[in-house]
């Protein structure tokens, strides 16, 4: 276990030029149990992926000991730190034991088979993760929670000093959650370290020694659970009212959330549906989120730049297969999102026959009484690949009450101001 410290220095992570993590610092040393918390789309997962050598930061440095993580051989990294990703679909029929043994890979030579020591490590890991009884079962037949625990066992079998975990408790029942976190604190007590993205603030409070609250890609607060988990912070970061008490047994902070007064308090701004594509909507997504809007988007093709950013920001989207025309099904899913939104924004997307139907969705939004804005720093004529069909739809949208603007600030102001006027 060649493990000293892991340090993130001013790390920025970007998708398609859009920063989802902007300047986070972190130092992990032996014994640390660090929880990363924050609302959806705040950049927690992207930051953890950067720490695990999976997603190269746009800027900033990650040091393992004295070495730049991204110049180290991956084998060496895999002997020092193990990652548990959020979900890992395995489609081929390896047994759970075979999958866990793959965790021994960084310790084995190319032609070296698994030895008795590796088997012992795998068995230990599987017993700790409570999947030893599943050893002979093909993983693709296991339930979500069982598969999650197999992946945890795989990471434990790597026998690393540092564990990075992305919501390791998410598919687990309460019993397995507690067992897992109990085990992780035991590991930290004996000199290992864990960095974990976690949604359940009370679990984080009970087990983590240090919490980092991330909002909009930046550190908002950091410290012990008692320092960080206050009503004021929760109100500011999650937009949720809460009472923080002390846990009767552990004396750690215990959060009780108050029922939301008027719907979605995490997003004080209006609910906005964004019609975009290419990479035209990525910056709008972020700006709307930052102004407190609940953002949805569609229809986007899988693998499209906007779809990637949307996925990183964890927003709900109506999607279509890569490079395909938008199907009836995707269109209906899109209309469903539009129906739930208050405002529809059409980005300066390029329109072809494949996505023309997205403009019809905007027309539908007008008939439902939604406010529709077209953001057109470049006129539609330059982005119309349908021989005038799109331009005609734009004209019709304008006739029926949509607004068009080329000014980003004006657009955002009007979209966000909307609720204040009506409310």
């Amino acid at each position: 276990m060649e493990w000293k410290t892991l340090q993130a220095k001013d790390v920025h992570v970007a998708y398609y030029g859009e920063d989802v993590v902007s300047g986070i610092n972190l130092k992990v040393s032996s014994g640390d149990f660090i929880g990363i918390v924050g609302p959806n789309g705040s950049g927690k997962t992207s930051f953890l992926r950067a720490l695990s050598r999976t997603l190269r930061p746009r800027e900033g440095l990650i040091l393992l000991g004295e070495m730049d993580l991204y110049t180290m051989p991956v084998r060496q990294v895999a002997r020092a730190l193990a990652m548990v990703p959020q979900d890992n679909p395995i489609s081929f029929g390896f047994t759970a034991l075979e999958v866990v043994l793959m965790g021994r890979n960084p310790h084995l030579g190319r032609l070296q088979g698994v030895g008795p020591y590796d088997l012992e490590m795998a068995r230990n890991a599987m017993e700790k993760a409570n999947v030893w009884h599943l050893a002979d079962r093909p993983v693709n037949e296991l339930s979500g929670g069982e598969r999650q625990r197999v992946i945890i066992a795989q990471a434990l079998a790597q026998d690393t000093g540092l564990l990075l975990m992305d919501e390791p408790t998410q598919h687990l029942d309460i019993n397995h959650q507690l067992t897992l976190l109990e085990m992780l604190s035991g590991m930290c007590a004996s000199g290992q370290a864990v960095v974990m993205v976690v949604h359940d603030l009370n679990l984080a409070s009970q087990y983590c020694g240090q919490l980092i609250v991330i909002r909009r890609g930046r550190e908002f607060a950091r410290g012990t659970p008692a320092e960080v988990l206050t009503s004021a912070v929760l109100q500011e970061v999650f937009g949720v009212g809460s009472i923080v008490t002390r846990h009767a047994v552990t004396e750690r902070p215990h959060v009780i959330f108050l029922p939301a007064g008027n719907g979605d308090l995490e997003h004080p701004g209006p609910r906005v549906h964004l019609i975009c594509g290419g990479a035209s909507g990525a910056s709008l997504m972020r700006e709307l989120l930052e102004r407190g809007c609940y953002v949805t988007a569609g229809v986007l093709n899988l693998g499209d730049g906007d779809e990637e950013v949307g996925r990183a920001l964890e927003i709900r989207m109506a999607v279509e297969s890569p490079f395909s025309h938008i199907s009836e099904e995707a269109h209906l899913a899109n209309l469903e999102l539009i129906r739930e939104a208050e405002v529809v924004v059409v980005s300066d997307l390029h329109v072809g026959s494949g996505n023309l139907v997205n403009l019809e969705a905007a027309l539908q939004a007008l008939t439902w009484g939604k406010r529709v804005y077209m953001f057109s720093p470049r006129p539609i004529a330059e982005r119309d690949h349908t021989e005038g069909g799109a331009a005609a739809l734009y004209r019709r949208l304008l006739r029926e009450g949509a607004r068009e603007t080329a000014d980003r600030e004006e657009l955002l102001g009007e979209v966000v101001g909307e609720r204040r006027e009506s409310g």
Partner: protein, 357 residues
């Protein structure tokens, strides 16, 4: 209940079962080769065929007395054996490439002729034929070298396009592969039409057949398939890791990108060698790894050698049918493999309908 068996014992049992499967396949391969050598226009009794072959082996050769006629020996050694061995090597190569592509793309429908690599090899070889490029490089002819390059470029193009967005979609991969295959095939046809006098040669070669089977061809292909097979066995563990996805494999200590390129190169060498002697023969690379996977499980340490053996069996049987079914005439062997392979492909498509959407 599980406690009664230790992990080591359990793994050993699994390993023994898989080794047993491979041994049975290997034995089957030997029997199939001997039967294939015996069968043909002139039937040479199986026992005699076997003894003629053994007599040519080092050491063992002294143990058999020559009780057969010189004609029989000529038929077996100079005519049938090279052809059967060539079929064996081509089948091994295509099945190996199929196993590699299915692993790299994590896609059960990948096969050298479906994702365009065979057609790339064919175009490379055709270009060498057409322009009469003729230089040798040890055992490697210009035709073979051009076939390697063609196969590699085709896979490269398909992979880069199908990867758009970071994930390889199955439907998209098949469509891109299909489009590229057709495109490359059209260029081959164009060259054929333009090359009137030499067209005849190219045409027959492209139909897919092993009629040209000679010891020279066997010796040209053998090193490529051997190297490909050995490298794949060495990297089998890494192919397993890649099944967890590129990202997870990297987290477990595999340089996934670099590894993918190595395997693309290996598969291209193997496909190029196979196509340069036999033309385009479809479905061997698709079917064999599937059937072997049912027997050995998904572990590439067994799947790779199993596919090598299985592809050899499949191809030797198919070629024997091709040259005996309508004797004295011969069917192109591609017809035989497609006859069995195409329905199997449709069966797979139906079974995996959900995964393909």
């Amino acid at each position: 209940m599980e406690g009664t068996l230790s992990v080591a014992e359990r793994l050993a049992a699994m390993r023994r079962r898989r080794v047993a499967v491979l041994s049975v396949l290997g034995l089957l391969l030997v029997l199939v080769v001997i039967a294939a050598v015996a069968l043909g226009a002139v039937y040479v009794p199986i026992a005699t065929s076997a003894r003629i072959i053994v007599s040519r082996l080092p050491l063992l050769g002294r143990l058999v007395d020559a009780t057969w006629s010189p004609t029989q020996e000529t038929i077996i050694i100079s005519v049938r054996l090279p052809r059967v061995l060539l079929a064996l090597l081509v089948g091994m190569g295509l099945a190996l490439a199929g196993a590699i592509f299915q692993g790299l793309f994590r896609n059960p429908l990948a096969d050298p002729s479906i994702i365009g690599s065979s057609q790339g090899a064919a175009l490379g070889a055709t270009i060498a034929f057409y322009f009469g490029i003729n230089f040798g490089w040890g055992g490697l002819s210009a035709v073979t070298l051009f076939a390697f390059v063609g196969a590699f470029l085709a896979v490269f193009v398909v992979y880069v396009i199908a990867r758009a967005g970071g994930r390889v979609s199955i439907a998209y991969l098949l469509l891109v592969g299909f489009a590229l295959s057709s495109f490359l095939a059209s260029i081959v046809s164009l060259l054929m039409v333009m090359s009137e006098d030499r067209m005849h040669n190219i045409f027959f070669w492209l139909m897919g057949g092993l009629g040209t089977g000679s010891w020279d061809a066997v010796l040209a292909v053998l090193p490529c398939i051997a190297v490909g097979g050995v490298v794949s066995v060495i990297f089998a563990k890494d192919l397993n890791l890649l099944m967890l996805g590129e990202e997870r494999a990297t987290q477990l200590g595999l340089e996934a990108r670099r590894f993918q390129w190595i395997m693309f190169a290996v598969a291209s060498v193997v496909v190029g060698a196979a196509v340069s002697v036999s033309g385009i023969i479809g479905f061997v690379g698709l079917m064999t790894p599937h059937i072997v996977r049912l027997l050995t499980g998904p572990d590439h340490r067994y799947l790779v050698p199993g596919s090598l053996i299985g592809g050899g069996i499949f191809m030797v049987v198919a070629d024997t049918l091709a040259r005996t079914l309508i004797a004295p005439n011969e069917l192109p062997v591609g017809i035989v493999t497609a006859f069995f392979g195409a329905p199997f492909f449709i069966y797979l498509l139906k079974r995996r309908r959900h995964a393909i959407a």
